[in-house]
């Protein structure tokens, strides 16, 4: 492939590569900077925050963080919320997406329009009534309160609907002639086929859930029910004052570790997902 490229085309490739590297570096620098600062003693950071080499080097900021008794508790909360939300979103999105893609039922268009309208309502707009409702039910400061408002995700339904629509109809017809019921078709044919789409949707949901801040901040007022993001934010104020910048940076790195890990493991699906939502 490269052998055939000569002259201007070759220079074009090199230019493109150079631009890509520069853009990547611009994206990466702040991250490296944060990591570097998290590995420097706070005293050092008082003098200067510059430099990309963690010297003098210390992991004190991290050990301090982990020694805080509530941090593991927050991690568990975040995991429960993120995993719970992911499973529920996948269930609802795939079922509803399939229904919209392939079933005929009364008021289908109206219901679909309502769902799409949901895309346009900013989350913050329903915070007050939602908060009030959950308060009335007395379910604030539970995992359920953190998960429930995020289970019906229009974009997830939409994504799965698009995916199911792209599955050749003959596949379902063949299954129907093979005596498969609707449920068999859904669970034995459509779901297994949609594993890539489900993985992508699941990853995005998980990441979204993990990074979620505003709702947990409002709903979980009990420190034991904090998620990692809310919890770390609550101590960052103290840190910045008493311990210094290094600790703040360490908590930022710490909170994003699971996400980075996910990215590394599921890179392929995330790229596919971005391409998919770009309408490719």
């Amino acid at each position: 492939m490269t052998a055939a490229r000569t002259g201007w085309a070759l220079w074009g490739d090199r230019l493109l590569l150079a631009i890509t590297i520069i853009v990547a570096a611009l994206w990466l620098l702040p991250v490296i900077w944060v990591v570097t600062m998290s590995l420097k003693p706070n005293a050092e950071l008082m003098r200067s925050t510059w430099g990309f080499i963690p010297y003098p080097f210390t992991i004190e900021n991290y050990t301090n963080l982990i020694q805080l008794a509530t941090v593991p508790r927050w991690l568990v909360n975040s995991l429960i919320v993120a995993i719970g939300m992911t499973l529920l979103v996948l269930t609802v999105s795939s079922l509803a997406g399939y229904a919209f893609a392939r079933l005929q039922f009364p008021f289908k268009r109206t219901i679909f329009a309502l769902m799409i309208a949901g895309l346009m309502i900013p989350e913050q707009a329903v915070f007050l009534p939602l908060h009030q409702m959950f308060a009335d039910w007395g379910i604030h400061n539970t995992h359920a309160a953190l998960v429930m408002p995020r289970v019906a995700v229009p974009i997830g339904v939409f994504l799965m609907m698009q995916f199911f629509r792209a599955v050749p109809r003959e596949l379902e017809e063949a299954a129907e002639l093979d005596h498969a019921s609707r449920f068999t078709i859904f669970f034995r044919i459509m779901l297994p086929l949609s594993v890539p789409a489900l993985t992508t949707l699941g990853l995005f949901t998980f990441i979204h859930a993990w990074n979620d801040f505003l709702w947990p901040l409002v709903s979980a007022t009990d420190a034991d029910m904090y998620t990692v993001t809310v919890g770390l934010a609550s101590i960052q104020g103290n840190f910045a004052m008493s311990e210094g910048l290094g600790s703040v940076m360490a908590s930022a790195v710490f909170a994003s570790l699971p996400i980075v890990l996910l990215f590394l493991i599921f890179q392929r699906f995330i790229v596919a997902g971005v391409a998919m939502s770009a309408g490719k």
Partner: protein, 365 residues
């Protein structure tokens, strides 16, 4: 008793009529081919038999029972789709087993049926493969295998070979024909390819724009087409149509005058053609010869040397293109002026409405 019967079946999508009042009986063990140009409603008709498409008017009967309101899964038919429609995430074995598992067939029974189908279709070695790791021909075999193991009352094939290359198509054609003999099952087969129809069918159903044009054994349709459409659709190279006018008629015999003054005689059913009527002559390429004293002058445009035969394409005086299938190793040169003579064979005559008025063959002489 008819295994499959259509009684005045029509289909509309909204106010677009796709199938008009089709009636047909398909006998037990018969191999019937629906043929017609793309978009004429072959698939729709087949899908109505399968139960994948609702019938707008009329009745579909399978095994003597009206099945209009019977779900596809309960009709006892198996279908092979053009794009195979194999379950991509399942192995070949699971693809075949799926339908049997769904009706709770015991495991040993499933295994033995798969083994038998795999042997018939030479799939033994591929049972644990996924469809994507197989060639088009192999996938098509799996799709057929999936139908066989179900032991259906009726097999439906919707253009099963059109995604295969020419060689494979010929090979699969004979395999399906062999399968039909071996299983002695009722098969309905859809194709737009007249060769497939001619070679495989017990009976051909020619469709045009949702209407049955003619039904009959392949040779019947070839020799006694009811109209110009059927005559033109069956046979390759295509039959030659030459416009003319009845110059004289006497009894069954008419003289047709073509552009350029050539007069050819033909036999028609009594009372169907009067002097002055516009008619179209239909001459099959294989009945044309080249002779010095032939009545039809033409100029050679293209010569296709196929070895056993030569196809000579020529233009007649009125600009009509005509093709002759010769068995002369040394055909005329391109650009040569030649004269065509008519050898033995049926001279088809069609009236102004494109219907055949040819005297049936038995009545010749």
């Amino acid at each position: 008793m008819a295994e499959v019967a259509l009684r005045g079946v029509s289909k509309s999508y909204g106010n677009v009529d796709v199938i008009h009042d089709v009636s047909l009986d398909v006998g037990q063990g018969e191999f019937v081919v629906f043929v017609g140009p793309s978009g004429c409603g072959k698939s729709t008709l087949m899908r109505m038999i399968a139960g994948l498409e609702e019938v707008t008017r009329g009745d579909v009967l399978i095994g003597g029972e009206r099945v209009n309101d019977t779900a596809a899964r309960d009709r006892g038919v198996a279908m092979v789709f053009q794009n195979y429609a194999l379950y991509p995430h399942m192995s070949v074995r699971d693809n075949m087993a799926f339908g049997l598992r769904n009706i709770g067939t015991p495991r040993p029974e499933i295994d033995s049926r798969i083994a038998k189908a795999a042997e018939i279709l030479q799939l033994d070695r591929y049972l644990d493969r996924k469809p994507r790791a197989m060639s088009g021909g192999q996938r098509q075999r799996v799709a057929i295998g999936r139908a066989i193991v179900r032991e259906p009352k009726v097999f439906l094939f919707d253009e099963p070979l059109s995604n295969l290359d020419a060689n494979l198509r010929v090979q699969m054609r004979t395999e399906i024909a062999r399968l039909h003999h071996r299983l002695d099952a009722t098969m309905i087969y859809v194709t737009h390819d007249q060769t497939e129809a001619m070679t495989m069918a017990d009976r051909i159903v020619v469709l045009r724009a949702g209407v049955i044009e003619q039904v009959g054994a392949p040779l019947d349709l070839y020799e006694r087409p009811a109209n110009m459409f059927v005559a033109g659709f069956l046979g390759a190279p295509k039959i030659n149509f030459i416009k003319g006018r009845v110059a004289a008629s006497q009894g069954n015999e008419i003289l047709v005058e073509l552009a350029g003054g050539t007069r050819l005689s033909a036999l028609v059913r009594p009372g169907t053609a009067n002097p002055g009527d516009a008619v179209t002559l239909g001459l099959r390429p294989e009945m044309l010869q080249i002779a010095l004293d032939g009545p039809l002058p033409g100029r050679v445009e293209v010569v296709e040397q196929l070895g056993a035969v030569q196809l000579v394409y020529a233009t007649l005086a009125d600009g009509t293109t005509m093709v002759a299938e010769l068995r002369d190793r040394r055909p005329p040169a391109v650009g040569a002026d030649v004269r065509f003579a008519l050898g033995p064979g049926i001279r088809h005559v069609f009236d102004a409405r494109e219907l055949s008025i040819t005297l049936p063959e038995g009545d010749h002489q």
